[in-house]
Symmetry: D2
Subunit: 400 residues, 4 copies
């Protein structure tokens, strides 16, 4: 079909042109003597995106799932007790991994559409006087339901209980797009991937680790409690300290990463967060104008990177997504697992701007109407664009 | 700024991804023994896009302006009388070139917003019993005003008068996007460029020539009436007949051209014309919904590749274009020459689809409101998307 | 520096232009409804390269090291006895991984410069009447020393002993470049990576598995003996069977993979093997002409993908490699571990041809002379090119 | 065939990777308000490459042939007397163009293998007391024979005669590769193209003009002696002065040009000239080692960008070129016109380095032997690489 296939899935996200240019490269030798001067800048600048002021970051040739696994196997051992919560497909999968890795998982199930239950976490941590809980897990942004959780509140619970548990955060669809502060929030292991806020193709898993977690990992190594090689901190640290990797890194993506980090630096993290909030708010105004509701139960849970919209009763949300793809060349996200057929998702993260979102909202309107939802043509996109317009005026006013 | 800078100028147009891929190439030797097997397919398939069943096409490393010049210098001589009409910046520039090349130009000036005056042409041709008029020039699609002319009517006038004048057509912004039939309409010299319906970067001028024009050119060569080398038919024919070029061709663009011709073949010319009409009609519905008018005076002049919209009284159209670019990353076309400050132009040709146009219309709405035009948010894009939606249903119904 | 930096490391290898073109793509949605029609062809065609007629292949977003780990953790459990051999840095690393994954490794250390000791393996297998050995590991091509082993001989030993142990093969630097026949040789788990014979950037690990190994993996899953998620066969099989992946795949590399598999199909595996042999033989003739020796102890160990050349006594091989890179823009491989400073390596695998190898050999000559090795200028490259020339004549004669 | 097809034709030349990256771009609007800030840097930096300190440069979407034509039609008129010389296919073609454009050409034919006859020019200029000669033409580097001429000597002749004729120089295959000094040498119109020393794909013609020539052009405009539009200085100047172009420029190539000019700046013109001389000298040593001779009659004519080598008696040079292409994937240049079948050409200009040239020389040796020329394998490439090696040592010594 003619024209771009536009991506409004919550990852992979659109790859900026300068990143594409940087990846259009002949092969290179990752053992070249000048390679470390390249890799060192990457480690430094990824840490900035995580706002990790100490500790270090790991770059795995993997998806974010690999980084999840690395976080667990390097700092925890089978039998360790951990506190987790489940409220969407991705928090579910993390629980599943933790259980399969042999952890003793205390799962708090909360309603889909809400997020990490910081109060319940605080209670359990306060009650755990013997510090049996070794780690607390939080899905910062649940991509399946469009819900963002309050990590600072979880940290407050840990601090209030003076609990030494490690704080794990899945930031796959938040880091680089939504405010995230590893050091300020005392996050010990923060996971992300290349294909969301980092605006790269998939293929790199990022794991940003606090000094405390590195120390724990060192002990684990001594005790040899968990089997691992590919995702081993120890091997990575030894090689990364020389500017190299313990096995062949994904060199093409690393060159793209350099360009992406430069873009992030140039726009500025705070401006990026503001842009994501602005774009997301427009989408939310469109949803309201259509008379529809988000999966997120309250505004405080609203995600600035993805909106999961509830289809009206009697309408299969999959049909809406299918229609958008087949008739109008736009990829939306389907509902997953418990919300399959009930929600459709609009990703609005990464290298994206107002006209792109307006185009997507237009297609959503067409698809909704095609599927029998009575929305007024132009109502949603009109609400969004008016929000963008007023926001742009404020930006200009502020600059002046 | 984040996100694509979207192009809604009436050329250059968006380059399809497969064309970009094809142009991402190492350099090659255009004198290689297997090069002719590549170039021959190009000549054949460009002719198909012009619907030129006999004669031949020339590919110049130039813009469309170069192809204009080639058409003139190879078939006419200083002093030759030609019939032209002027109703926009591009028809104006062609008249200017003809005069500077020493032709004796009979210019018919008609109102901007109308097109080639086929009736006046018919009268003049009928009156020219001595056949002093050597050529008749038509701008098929005036890019400055969004006006498409009726070439078949001009041919009818020539035929009615049994007049032997050559028929020159500027198809820069029509060929490959709007119905064009060189052989059926008896067009002798049809000019186009790479950066519009051919969906390539600028850099190639195409000239599609009838057998009659080739014969005239041969005589001209003998008589050596006009000085030319670079744009010489004779040199080109001699080299092209062997599969090569008389000087170094733009090899990278030629590889892109191959991919673009394949895309055109795949979608089918008639489907392409239908898509352009559908997208254009949506834009026109948006213009109506905004309460604005096109520069084109009557529906029969409406162009399916570009819409020139009149700004309301008291509003500088340049400000609208500036706002769209600076605040929303969208490139629109400004008004040129006589209509500078009075119209803004939305290009909707080439590799383009519904969500792209809806995004552009959204930005136009934002920019109009920013500039003080009272349009209802969502009104225009809503009208367009409803048109696209209904059109898509018809397509499905037809296919079923 | 001007001009290509030419890669003659034994991986990553040069990426063919059509593969680069295919990877120059906008992002795509790996959950699109038509994605399975794309992935199914990949699985089918990778299996062809491994000559795996039954079983299945896995594609991990990882390096080959990840595929090693997957092979082990899905079919073996801590405490399982395995038979391995060590004769270079990569066979060493595999032993190290096996030990760290808790296997009970029976390591046969043989001289570096030789390969898998098939006779010793046969003896041990014959002696293992109780079938305590669960798996036999072979490094098909030891990249560190330029040694290729005889996998068919190992299979013969297993068959002679009627031993049911699984046969693991590291084919990272052999599959797709040197004759490899998974089904014929009864290989159960064959590992490779994207950046060698598959001619892609690094980032994909391939694991080709026999039906027998899949059955074993299923049991292991039941018994839950080993912790794994990212590299789990079970998760992969469930998702791959629907044409998708259990987590985000490296979509850009997968598009490159499609182009690379098409190239392999087009040239033909047997022709590819012949080309690698021809190019390697030229390099070996150059080494002889220089009066130098390979690390490989006998011709039967010679690798057709990489030649490790012994520096003369008193010369640090690292200096030769450094000189080639800094003065002449050519990347060679250094000696690793035991042979550090003693050998330099010339990779001659992947998308490569005669003039590229001759350029590399010319640089080796310059670097050797720069480092004080008395070789006659032109002697090595002359010997190689004469070999290539005669080989080319034979090809022509054969074709005629 | 596997591996790069290596280009050793004297243009198009290899495109540097950063230039390829820069051209891998989505389409852009060449009327955008910020476009002039981009184009102004181009004009400034192209002038630096020509070492044109005053005057201005023009960038045409054309080949170098177009720039030739522009130079003539803007400053001369039919009937004007000009002094030219002919000693190869490209100087021949320029004479042909001048004659066809109606100039009164005084052609000095000299032996192919020699260059511009500066003494004869000086005599004719001295004899032309009435200044009937309006312009003197020099082909700086005759690409067909590998001959470089002495432009400073021609200038000296003009100065000695106090002759006001314009000095035209064809620098297509010299500018950016061989020492060229427009202002110092008083060159009025210097022509080049994108696909040689500028390291771009073909598609741009460059014309660098002195203030004197601009003044002459202005007069010509007034007098309207020559018909031109596409190549008109006047139109270009009017548009360029605002940062735009009179018709759609080849925007993709212009982005590549930016990257190429940055590369040239980075390496430094003098270093570039030295590299070309070094590489060329190695080729010449190879030719000597083979017992062959250059087409250039004396060392003073030797070109540093292309070597035309005479095939031994009885050997068809076309066969050598054909063999290199078909058997070894290397493109050499054939002999053209008078020297067809007699010479083959090795281009050694642009983005090129030692291992690339050594690879090419290796292929030449193979092809020579395949065609029955008795050269010792390794003799030529050995001579060249020893030259490169010693030159590299000198560079290091100088830097120390």
């Amino acid at each position: 079909m003619a024209g771009y296939n536009q991506l409004f899935v919550p990852g992979p996200t659109n790859v900026p042109e300068v990143v594409r240019q940087a990846m259009n490269m002949p092969m290179e030798d990752m053992r070249a003597p000048d390679y470390p001067s390249f890799t060192r800048g990457l480690f430094r600048d990824i840490a900035k995106v995580f706002r990790n002021d100490s500790g270090r970051v790991f770059i795995f040739p993997s998806s974010g799932t690999g980084a999840w696994e690395s976080a667990i196997t390097n700092t925890l051992a089978p039998g360790d007790r951990v506190l987790m919560s489940r409220f969407g497909q991705f928090s579910h999968l993390w629980v599943d991994m933790a259980q399969r890795m042999g952890l003793d998982v205390d799962v708090v199930d909360v309603e889909w559409g809400t997020g990490v239950p910081a109060e319940i976490y605080a209670e359990r941590l306060a009650a755990d006087k013997e510090h049996r809980i070794k780690a607390v897990f939080c899905t910062h942004n649940e991509t399946a339901t469009g819900v963002t959780s309050d990590i600072a509140a979880v940290r407050a619970g840990l601090d209030a209980a003076k609990h030494p548990a490690l704080l794990f955060v899945d930031g796959v669809s938040s880091v680089g797009s939504i405010d995230f502060r590893q050091t300020d929030w005392g996050v010990d292991l923060a996971v992300s991937g290349s294909q969301k806020g980092f605006m790269l193709p998939p293929g790199l898993g990022f794991l940003s680790v606090s000094q405390k977690a590195l120390d724990v990992a060192k002990d684990t190594t001594k005790n040899n409690r968990s089997n691992r090689c590919y995702f081993s901190f120890e091997d990575m640290i030894r090689a990364n300290d020389t500017g190299y990797f313990p096995y062949t890194p994904a060199v093409q993506l690393l060159r793209g990463l350099r360009a992406a980090l430069d873009l992030i630096e140039e726009e500025g993290l705070d401006n990026i967060f503001e842009r994501h909030n602005r774009l997301a708010e427009g989408v939310r105004k469109a949803v309201s104008a259509w008379g529809l509701r988000l999966c997120a139960k309250e505004p405080k849970w609203n995600s600035d990177t993805v909106s999961a919209v509830l289809a009206p009763d009697g309408i299969d949300s999959n049909e809406i997504v299918k229609r958008a793809y087949e008739a109008y060349n736009v990829s939306l996200g389907v509902g997953l697992s418990k919300v399959a057929g009930k929600v459709f998702r609009i990703g609005h993260l990464g290298w994206i701007n107002e006209p792109m979102v307006c185009g997507a909202l237009s297609v959503v309107e067409m698809s909704l109407r095609d599927c029998g939802v009575k929305v007024t043509p132009g109502s949603g996109v009109g609400a969004a664009l008016e929000h963008y317009r007023l926001a742009a005026q404020k930006t200009v006013a502020k600059a002046a």
